[in-house]
Point group: C2
Chain length 353, copies 2
């Protein structure tokens, strides 16, 4: 029988804490009965929730923590106040010490990244981490990274993102050689953006067996599904994600207003209710919840802070998949292979990391 997947949860993270985290874990457990949990946080509150979920209780270990990182703490505050003692830190620390294979938190992104980086350190050959997530497209799902962990970065950084993102696509989508595109703007010969052109040359030259580089992709190419993996530095990745989310919300609002404007449109809505439900499901952010922190010596998954139990369960599922299908080994294999091909720069990178 395969090894169990051990998942550490920051039970106090997010807007609702244990009342979402525990039911969410219970939902994920029904889908992956070979999971075990380490639940970190206020043990009284956790136990109260666990009473409603006996199956989860049976496979969980509760670790008490008095300190919860607030959604408004700055990363530096969170580190000062929460290092070693907060539920967020202790969940990550369980990964570091081999008591869990992955940590999942709905707590604040900046604090979680700061703690994960401080506690787990970056992989050899990677000096700056990234956040990656699934982006629903017209052609299926893609992986987009970096969604905001690291602003800017040179061609080598972009190449590392391509390697890590393609490893995640292999895990999530069961692809042998996912396609990878670099996000760029359409206007050619504009001053700036040299690092993106240089990264394209690096990726073309490396011709890695684990990913197929297809060139540049524009902003509207993400939703078209132009590539399985879309790579960009963290500022523009975050802007792209938020601009797309904002547009989706805006159009949903227009649609709602249009359908309730006249008695005819209201009748139309009644007839088409199931169609609208299908549309809502398709647009439901909880169905693609779970940002994966890449580039660290361990896996950490960030859930949306305001999500419900279904959304949190999805983030736990993502964490499960990353472990079960061996994300870290897949990343390291590609990095090693790439370093083998070009040992000198790899050594240089390790020296500074």
């Amino acid at each position: 029988m395969a090894k169990k997947v051990r998942i550490a949860l920051d039970a106090m993270g997010g807007d609702f804490g244990p009342s979402v985290v525990i039911p969410g874990a219970a939902i994920s457990l029904t889908r992956h009965p070979d999971s075990e949990f380490v639940l970190v946080g206020d043990s009284a509150k956790i136990e109260a929730e666990l009473a409603n979920h006996p199956a989860l209780k049976k496979v969980s270990k509760v670790i008490h923590s008095d300190v919860a990182v607030s959604m408004h703490d700055k990363p530096s505050q969170a580190l000062r106040r929460g290092r070693k003692v907060s539920s967020m830190w202790m969940a990550i620390d369980a990964v570091k010490h081999g008591e869990a294979d992955v940590a999942v938190s709905a707590g604040n992104t900046g604090a979680l990244m700061a703690m994960a980086r401080f506690c787990l350190r970056t992989l050899p050959g990677i000096d700056r981490p990234a956040i990656a997530a699934v982006w629903p497209t017209m052609r299926g799902d893609s992986i987009v990274l970096d969604l905001g962990a690291t602003i800017g970065g040179d061609a080598h950084h972009l190449k590392s993102l391509a390697i890590m993102g393609s490893a995640m696509a292999r895990v999530m989508f069961d692809l042998e050689r996912p396609t990878v595109g670099l996000l760029n703007i359409g206007v050619e010969e504009v001053k700036g953006g040299e690092e993106i052109r240089e990264a394209a040359e690096l990726l073309r030259a490396a011709d890695l067996p684990q990913l197929k580089f297809i060139g540049f992709v524009e902003g509207d190419g993400i939703g078209k599904g132009d590539a399985d993996v879309i790579v960009t530095e963290g500022f523009s990745g975050n802007i792209a994600l938020k601009a797309a989310e904002g547009t989706a919300r805006q159009l949903a609002e227009y649609l709602r207003a249009a359908m309730s404007r006249t008695w005819r449109s209201k009748i139309g809505y009644l007839f088409a209710k199931n169609a609208f439900k299908a549309l809502r499901d398709k647009m439901d952010p909880s169905k693609s919840n779970g940002g994966v922190f890449l580039g660290l010596n361990g896996i950490v998954v960030k859930s949306h802070g305001g999500t419900d139990a279904d959304g949190f369960a999805y983030a736990v599922d993502v964490g499960y998949d990353m472990v079960r299908y061996d994300l870290l080994n897949k990343i390291n294999q590609t990095l090693d292979r790439d370093h083998g091909a070009a040992p000198a720069p790899a050594a240089a990178q390790e020296a500074v990391s």
Copy 2:
């Protein structure tokens, strides 16, 4: 009686040339009877179209040009081949020589920007131009810039964008003191992005009477209408625009598929047809067509290349408004005022421009 607004059109620009440009101009003329036109391009084709639009013919002067810039020419190619002789160049040149107040082209963006920059030069105090456009939001319309003219830029560049964008908002929305936000990502204390924080300090310190700086806005704040003017450098501005456009197309496609899935949803569609039409109108890109080039000694408006006559007419309307409500003077007044308050850096900027 007020002075006429003289509009130079690159009749060969865009995917369809005179067959869209001339009918588009005719539509705009019905809305602004105090317009006059300079139509540059293949005079035989232009005259053939003008025969169907006698009112437009009466207020137009045709200038022949044999050379049309292709939608696929690189900016440098376009400049080499089209300088002085192409319809695009000659339309811009009409602005330079005072024969027109504004030039409008649906030709390729990179070529148009290269020619406009080469022909008109940047305003004193501005060293790099920008593209701005209207972005429909839940609270009305906003101006977003830079949509891709200039990649990157320091705090002073971002401040110039704020000044130019707010002048455009005053023209388009008839506001006395538009609100201005700087596009940024949510995670604080991330390495990088210093220029944005510095720009925020500059704008706060300047406290200009022509704009009200409100701080940072995230990607989803654009669609919420968090500010009348959203400022960012050209790479992330272009990514935001394209990601939003891509999402809108994706959701329209989902909606279409959902409504044609079952007989019930098809009946629903019939009842709600008018509501869907209103929704389509709201999402219609031709209703917000027209990118304005800012920072040059003259006004140039870029229309989408694939637009129809209605969309091109909207771009001509934008050009008309920029002239009628005095965009360039509004920009220069604010720049002068700002320079008056801080003469030393202004002089330094002029020296390098």
